[in-house]
Amino acid sequence: MTRAHYGVAALLSIGAGWFVFDAVASLIAFPAALASQGDEPSVALWALLWAGVLLPVLLFAAAIVVGRRQALPRFALVTIVALATTAALRISLIAIAAGSTVL
């Protein structure tokens, strides 16, 4: 990896960091909101909340491992794909969590 690779990784890690921040906010706020209604999160809901925290880190790390030997444009493409996949999975997790709370 060159300096440019590290620069791109650092820049895009801001996006991954925001996804982690948002997931941690949900991890704190969602159980608190349920507790205020006299309810507790189920094990499945806890798993979904923690998946939201861990997935951005795991996907971004996997993208760096996969793309580390590639040229800079391809490395950037792989890391952007990781961020886009994180965004899609986050919406999927929200949909599944909303479905589980309704059920």
């Binding site: 391809r74 493409l77 952007i80 886009a84 899609a88 999975l89 986050r90 919406i91 949909a95 909303a98």
Partner: protein, 157 residues
């Protein structure tokens, strides 16, 4: 250029010694009518050797059989997934408490919509053409990971 019949003392100083099998005629690839004179002197086997020497390095790797069909089939799936995500984003309304967070949510929804296309482009760009298994594996993984769950759950409900 015809070779003189009598011994030529200057032959070593020129590059036109046509009986030498290692001699490569720079105009042979053009196959122009003027080369007929050269063809009279150079034997057929020598000419074949010359053509082989010119053609050998430029042999590209052939794509694996079925790779294009497989890629095209997955392209259709990923287009469907993109359409699914456009619908899914509408099914899961997310709004932020501040303008900045709202903008970031909107951008993440845009990323979710283009994720399928980006995954497909990355797999096509990074996997080699002559091996089927890596491309098949990564495209299958993308199909599973990027399944538009909000739409699937909405249809199931």
């Amino acid at each position: 250029m015809a070779r003189p019949s009598a011994p030529d003392d200057d032959a070593a100083l020129r590059w036109d010694y046509l009986d030498d099998s290692s001699y490569l005629d720079p105009g042979a690839a053009d196959a122009e009518p003027n080369d007929a004179a050269v063809g009279d002197v150079v034997s057929a086997s020598d000419r074949g050797a010359v053509m082989d020497a010119q053609d050998a390095p430029a042999t590209p790797e052939q794509p694996a059989p079925g790779l294009r069909l497989l890629t095209a089939a997955f392209a259709v799936v990923f287009v469907l997934w993109s359409v699914g995500w456009i619908i899914s984003v509408g099914l899961v309304p997310i709004s932020g408490p501040t303008l900045l967070i709202e903008v970031l949510y909107q951008f993440s929804e845009f990323l979710a919509i283009v994720a399928s296309a980006l995954w497909f482009a990355a797999v096509v760009a990074l996997t080699p053409q002559h091996r089927l298994a890596p491309r098949l594996g990564w495209l299958t993984l993308g199909t599973l990971v990027l399944l538009p769950w909000p739409l699937v759950l909405g249809v199931a409900a």
